[in-house]
Symmetry: C2
Subunit: 339 residues, 2 copies
DNA sequence: CCTGTTATCGCAATCGATTGCAATAGGTGG
DNA sequence: CCACCTATTGCAATCGATTGCGATAACAGG
C-alpha cells in the first residue's frame, strides 16, 4: 500500500540505498546535490513516509520514550505530560504514557511493558525515596526524573525548587502575622514529600519558629487521606493558625477538615497549597498556593532526555531546578488574634 | 543484548520458526506439546521478549492505537484516556496520545504523525460536525469516536446519552420550580455541543417551556468564553432563573459571570453543568451537574476498537450510548420568587 | 601519463520475527 | 505391504530501511 524506499528509488532510477542517504539529513552530504533534489521530489510525489519499524529494527532505536506517571487523573500531571509531548513530538519522538497508581508492583509491570516495546529511554514521575527498581533500570536505559528526585541513585532530574517554594509559603504566612504554623507532609515514601518537609523545617528555623510538636504526614496523595491527617493535627494543637500543605489536594483536604470542625478558612485557619493545579482559583476558598511551572518541567525533562540520547553517556548528570512562584488568593489571611 | 528467537532456538536445539510458533498462542497447536513446554521454559530462562519492531515489520501491525484528544489539560479527558489505557494495555496494545488544541490544522499534523508511526487505528475525541479529514481517514483506518459523533460520516462511536442527560438537568430545574431556563451551548462546530443543544430544546418542549429567545453559544470550550456568553445572556433576559450549561467549564463561566453582576448562585441563579469533571464537588458553589461515565467511555471505546481490529471490516457499525446520571450539589435551588 | 584523492553511488548483509511450503517420520486402513 | 494422511519441524523468503565496503569515475598534482 504505502510507498517504500524501493518505490522512490525506482521512480528516480537509482538504488534504494542512495535514496535512504539522500533523505537522511546526516548522510545527505554523501549524495549529489542534484539527485537529492530529485529524490526529495519523488518522495513527496509518492507520498513516501519511512516505516519506523523497519528503521527501528535495523537501528534498534524506536524513537519512543516511556513516560511513567502515578495517575493521569491527578491534575498536576496533565500539564507536565503536555510539556513532554509538545517538545518530544517536535523532534520525531513519541511518548508512551502509562500510569502506576502509585503501586510499585503495577509500576514494575508497566515498565516491563515499555521495555518490551523497546523504548529509548524513560521519563519517570514515580521516584520513591527508596527505589530498587530505579537503580537497575538506570543501568539499561537513559532516565530523567521529574517532580521527584531519588536518593537511591544519582540521576538527571527536573523539578521545582521546593526549598524556595516552601519558603515563599512560610514567609507569606509569617508576613500575615502567623506564628503557629504546621506542615502536612506528603507520604513518607515520596521524595518530594520528604523534600518539602525538610524545606518547611528549615524555613521555620530561619524565622525562629518551631514546627508543630508532632509532624503529620498523609499516607497517600489524596484529599481523603489529607482530611484525616488534618483532623489529627487540628485536634492535637488547637492554637494552630496556619497550615502549609505539601500539595494542593492536601490543602483541599485540610480545608475540608477545618470546615467539618466548624473552623472556616481563612478566618480561623489559613492554608497554603503547592503546585497550583487547574481550578485552584475556583475552589472554595480560592487557594493560595505555590505555582510550579508544570508545562516547563515536562518540556525541560524532554529536552534533557533528548540530549541524553544524542550524547553517548559520558555527560555530567544534570539536575534542573525550576523556580516556583507564590500565588496569593483567598485561603490565607491574618490570624484572628491579629485582626 | 536482548535474547532473540534464534537464541531460544539454539538453547532448545530446534529451529527459530518452531520457537515462533510455539510462543504464539494461535500457532502453538502446530507444535508438539512437549517442545512447547521446553520452549516456554527456555524463553523464560533467557528472559526472551519478542521485538515488536521485527514482528511489526513482518506483519505490518504495530499494535498501537492513536488517541487524539483536544487537550489533556481539560479535566474531562484524563478519565477517558485512563479508560482507554487500562483496557488497551491489557491486550498488548499501546495508545499513542496526542493533543490538537481544537485546531484542525494541528489535528492534521498529529494525525499525519500517527499515520507515519503506522498506528493500527484511531480513537478520536475531536469529531466536528463538518469534518472532511474524518471521512478520508476512515477509509484507511479503523476509527472509533468518543464523546462526539460526526455527521459527515457514519462511524462507530461511544458517548454519553446526551438526550437523557440534558433531560435530567431540565427536569431537575423544572422540579425545583424554574420556568425561565436558558441553555448556553457549546461551539457551533462541535457535535456534542450541537447535540446537547438539540436535547435541551426537546426537553424544554416536552415540559411546555420555551427556551430563551436568542440562543447563546460559546466560541470555545473555555471558562472565559463562557463568561462572555453568560454575560450576554443575563443582560438579554433578566428574568432568567436557571441555566443548563453544555459542560462544566461553561457552567463555571456562567457562575463567574453571574457573580460579576452581583447575582449569586444558587440564590439568584441556578446552574447545572455537564460531565462532572474532577473537583466539581469543591468549587464554589459545589456544582450540580450531569455525570458522564468518563472512564467507561474510554474503556468501551477501546473495546470497540479491539473488536474492529479482529473482525475484518464487515461488522455493522456500533454506536454505544452510556447513561449519565444527575449529581445534585449546591449550584441549584428553587427560584427566589418561589421561596 | 600515472598515481592518489575525492565525490558519488551500488551491492549485499543485516536487524528479528513470521509464514507458506516442503520434508520427514510415524501411523492408519485396506 | 503399500498408498496415504497427519503431526511435527525445517527451510527460506520476506517485511523496509540502514550502512560498511567496494566500485567507478572524475579530477588534481607531479
Amino acid at each position: 500500500m504505502a510507498a517504500t524506499l524501493k518505490d522512490v528509488a525506482k521512480k528516480v532510477g537509482i538504488h534504494p540505498a542512495t535514496v535512504s542517504r539522500a533523505l537522511n539529513p546526516n548522510t545527505a552530504h554523501l549524495v549529489n546535490a542534484a539527485t537529492v533534489i530529485k529524490v526529495r521530489k519523488a518522495a513527496a510525489a509518492l507520498n513516501y513516509v519511512p516505516n519506523p519499524m523497519a528503521a527501528g529494527l535495523r537501528t534498534s532505536r524506536s524513537h519512543t520514550i516511556g513516560v511513567v506517571i502515578p495517575d493521569l487523573n491527578n491534575p498536576v500531571f496533565p500539564g507536565m505530560v503536555r510539556g513532554i509531548q509538545d517538545t518530544l513530538s517536535r523532534t520525531g519522538y513519541t511518548p508512551l504514557l502509562v500510569n502506576t497508581d502509585n503501586d510499585p508492583e503495577s509500576e514494575a509491570h508497566v515498565i516491563a511493558a515499555l521495555s518490551a516495546r523497546r523504548v529509548d529511554g524513560f521519563i519517570l514521575a514515580t521516584a520513591r525515596r527508596d527505589h530498587p527498581l530505579l537503580v537497575e533500570l538506570s543501568e539499561k536505559f537513559p532516565i530523567v526524573l521529574i517532580n521527584r528526585v531519588s536518593e537511591s541513585v544519582q540521576l538527571p532530574s527536573v523539578s521545582a525548587d521546593d526549598l524556595h517554594g516552601i519558603r515563599l509559603a512560610v514567609e507569606h504566612l509569617y508576613g500575615l502575622g502567623h506564628r503557629s504554623i504546621a506542615h502536612i507532609a506528603g507520604p513518607a515514601w515520596s521524595s518530594s514529600g520528604h523534600e518539602r518537609s525538610q524545606a518547611f523545617s528549615k524555613a521555620m528555623r530561619d524565622h525562629d519558629l518551631v514546627p508543630a510538636r508532632r509532624p503529620v504526614a498523609v499516607t497517600a496523595w489524596s484529599i481523603e487521606s489529607a482530611r484525616e491527617a488534618a483532623l489529627r493535627l487540628l485536634n492535637d494543637d488547637p492554637t494552630l493558625t496556619a497550615i502549609v500543605a505539601a500539595n494542593d489536594q492536601i490543602a483541599l483536604g485540610a480545608i475540608a477538615a477545618a470546615k467539618s470542625m466548624k473552623r472556616r478558612c481563612p478566618r480561623d485557619l489559613s492554608v497554603v497549597g503547592y503546585n497550583d493545579m487547574p481550578l485552584m482559583d475556583l475552589v472554595d476558598p480560592p487557594l493560595t498556593t505555590v505555582r510550579v511551572p508544570q508545562h516547563d518541567i515536562g518540556a525541560e525533562s524532554a529536552r534533557l532526555m533528548l540530549s541524553l540520547l544524542v550524547e553517548e553517556g559520558s555527560t555530567p548528570i544534570k539536575q534542573v531546578r525550576l523556580t516556583p512562584e507564590l500565588i496569593i488568593r483567598s485561603s490565607t489571611a491574618p490570624p484572628r488574634s491579629a485582626s
